[in-house]
Symmetry: C2
Subunit: 143 residues, 2 copies
DNA sequence: GTAAAATCATTGAGTAGTCAAGTATATGTT
DNA sequence: AACATATACTTGACTACTCAATGATTTTAC
């Protein structure tokens, strides 16, 4: 029985915990969207102008450029976001939050908050702070 | 700009960090296996008899029964694991680690350990302990 | 000012899962 | 003993990504 180091063991548990949590969120099926889509709406809503470059969204949520293209396709189709060109750089295509997208986020946010508190109750604030700090060191920089 | 609660924000960062780490592990392409397959080999190797029920493996790594069936198929095909019946319960089919599977784990473990230490250096032992404890509360019970 | 290198986004092909439904067996209830 | 419920696993159909390659544009270096 080979031993593995504590770092690796921790990363294995991180993967497990995340898998279970992700499934719980996705099963909520919040107003028709999944967890990643919810995070995209959150980031757009939270940005100054309600828009962002595709590559920046991808980096923030930790998926690839290809992944963001594919996630956004159905979201554009159902009208949660639209496309906008950048006048100074023709390579860039902004993702813009629509009023419908903003409204859906507002609704979904309530459901998501409830589940999040079920998983990590506010009274565990020490753990929440501690976890946030560790995740920040690991690249979790979403504010 | 709607605020979301700290618990939810933490879970969003957890998802991001995990996505990035998972991709790093999978890109290693450790001797032909991915991260989840590595964890399956680890759990089998670490078990008393080098075998486990499918459902128990699934629960431990946080995927569904369906998911474990699909993960194991190619692993059986390349001979890392085999199947064994349970005499007392015909519903059960054990997953058994083969010598080839054990050998591959031994090799892959070195690569995985190195990357894990790159992500969470051993000198951050306080963080590792702290993260392990928090993950344990969230259901991360792999030892 | 042109060539080389970098960046942004998309596409084709594939993988690692999901859920819902189904099969087989076992267990609990009366 | 019979019937209902629960458990273990698999399958069909799907989703949410991945990588590698490509096209288009911009930036950098000479």
């Amino acid at each position: 029985m080979l031993m593995i180091n504590p770092s690796l063991k921790t990363l294995i548990n991180l993967a497990k915990v995340q898998a279970v949590i992700a499934r719980r969120f996705d099963r909520l099926n919040m107003h028709g969207i999944g967890f990643t889509e919810f995070v995209i709406l959150y980031l757009l809503q939270q940005s100054e102008e309600g828009k962002a470059r595709r590559i920046d969204l991808a980096d923030k949520i930790g998926i690839t450029a290809s992944g963001i293209t594919r996630m956004l396709l159905p979201m554009e189709k159902i009208g949660l976001v639209t496309r906008e060109a950048n006048e100074r750089d023709a390579r860039v295509s902004y993702v813009v939050l629509t009023p419908a997208g903003k409204q859906l986020f507002t609704d979904a946010e309530k459901t998501a908050n409830t589940l999040a508190l079920e998983i990590m109750p506010a009274k565990e604030s020490k753990d929440i702070t501690s976890l946030t700090n560790i995740l920040a060191k690991l690249g979790g920089n979403i504010t």
